[in-house]
Symmetry: C2
């Protein structure tokens, strides 16, 4: 009988869920509009109905093994979502406890998006068989999941892996966290926009970006311009790669990974992000580690990556027991 | 029958070994002068004779469980000491393989000094029962051992935990590793000496340190002066604590430890190092982690700490199997 897991990716706008087997094949998906449900109990009921409808579409015999959830500010140990700035529910949401009422006999596991991506990489992706690696997710912010000894590092309170909030430039750019110079203020969709504006300020050359307001400019536009050979866009990526490469060289000294995977929007710029990141990472690397750590694109990055990552929590849990 | 482990601490000058039980009680110790044996095979023979002599002094029934070794540049996976600058043996020494000839039926484990200190802290010391913590060893350089999920992070090639070589000031002080601005150029016995000389250069106040050459000044003298209220020594510690506190705040974002232990020479300055380190760590901490991470003195720090740490490798290995 085929074993399936539910994967749920909770975002500020939508929650996407799907049914996935051990090999990462997806058997249908569904969506609940997160922000339409300020009442968490109503949201959960809608999600339950959605998952049940999806299960009814499965026309073969299956065994449901568990539900894995990726969500911002999720606490793996407590099964909660805690003070997530981008979600409509405020305070501490006892997600797993409440979901258990609908699925009392299933393992239900929640963690943050970047940790889910790391476990997805290990279960389905390019980190299969690796015991020590780092996944860096480049979205609006910068998330990360660190795996050591074959296990995700959750840390004492489940909030480990905040590489985006390592200070890379003391007194540097203001960060949403209230401090200055965090890596994600340089390396993220928002970070590269800030870099593009800094370059517009520093340089005098003409650029198509001089026609856009800060609010209209997107990281995708910078990526597209870089791929078309625009010098300012390429320079923005070079700077982004420098900041990321330096930070990764430091991260390597701590956990000594076999590989580092780049996942998400900025990684789509291909050589424009990978080449400078690799160059500056090696340039700043402690000699022990030089030319030993692979810098690779994610093996699961794509439309369903976040749902895949969430479902992977279940297979990982089953196999580690 | 009492179970005993051999712990060996290999230093550039001496190798100290001892017999230790599961509770950390030591039953005699011995010394081999490392640097008197450029021929590693002769060294190992001398060490074997020493351990055997020590075993003969034990006047109760015992079972020997294994041999744990802490050494600079030791590779846990390969059982080797690799290109250790401070040891008389050059290149790659197959330590475990060669020692197995003398003790073919015993587990023999080698790791670097800081990792041994971390496992010692977990087995005998103040980290008992903790799953996630960091030990920072403050000697001539700065070493560290990171424990996550109850396991030491060796990383892909066994050289994880090089916190001393995280860059804390890009373009800063020259480091022995060939790069600039590494944490250990600021936070270590050598680092605080450099800081004292910087302060002598920057300030005009008189100070007893103006009577010493760089080669004559020691970190112990600075510690002693701080404990006697000398303003320059206290300022040197304040600066050292600032650099360490900032770096620890960043390390916390990666592994989210329950506690950080300070071990070794500089930790003996008590409040002069703990207070500024704690202050700057909290000041620079991501809010998730603020006031949650304990900063503590090592629970095994003392005369035999390194031998204890080395022996702990055996108990840790037995219990994790």
């Amino acid at each position: 009988m085929k074993q399936l897991a539910v994967g749920i990716d909770i975002g500020g706008t939508n929650s996407v869920f799907g049914l996935i087997d051990r090999e990462g094949n997806m058997y249908g998906e569904g969506v609940v509009q997160t922000k339409k449900f300020p009442d968490f109990d109503l949201y959960l009921e809608e999600l339950y109905i959605g998952i049940n409808s999806l299960l009814k579409t499965i026309d073969f015999e299956y065994e449901l093994m568990g539900i894995g959830i990726g969500a911002p500010n999720a606490n793996y140990y407590r099964g909660t979502i805690e003070n997530a700035a981008n979600l409509i529910w405020k305070g501490i949401i006892p997600f797993v406890e409440k979901m258990k009422r609908y699925f009392p006999n299933l393992p239900i596991i929640i963690t943050n998006d970047a940790n889910a991506a790391a476990i997805g990489e290990m279960v389905y992706g390019a980190a299969k068989g690796m015991k020590d690696f780092i996944v860096v997710t480049l979205g609006t912010g910068l998330g990360s999941g660190f795996v050591a000894n074959g296990q995700l590092i959750y840390g004492h309170d489940s909030f480990a892996g905040e590489l985006g909030h390592v200070i890379v430039n003391r007194g540097g750019r203001m960060c949403g966290c209230g401090r200055k110079g965090c890596l994600e203020t340089y390396v993220s969709a928002t970070g590269i926009k800030r870099t593009a504006f800094k370059l517009l300020a520093d340089h005098i050359e003409n650029s198509e970006f001089r026609n856009y307001s800060y609010n209209d400019l997107t990281a995708e536009m910078i990526t597209k311009a870089a791929l078309n050979g625009d010098p300012l866009a390429i320079e923005a990526y070079e700077y982004t790669g420098m900041m990321l490469g330096q930070a990764l060289a430091d991260a390597v000294t701590i956990t000594s990974p076999e590989a580092i995977f780049l996942f998400g929007g900025l990684a789509k710029a291909g050589k424009y992000i990978f080449e400078p990141t690799k160059k500056y990472m090696e340039m700043h690397m402690l000699s022990n580690f030089r030319n030993k750590v692979k810098l690779l694109p994610s093996g699961i990055d794509g439309k369903n990556a976040a749902v895949l990552g969430a479902s992977a929590l279940i297979w990982q849990e089953i196999e580690s027991n």
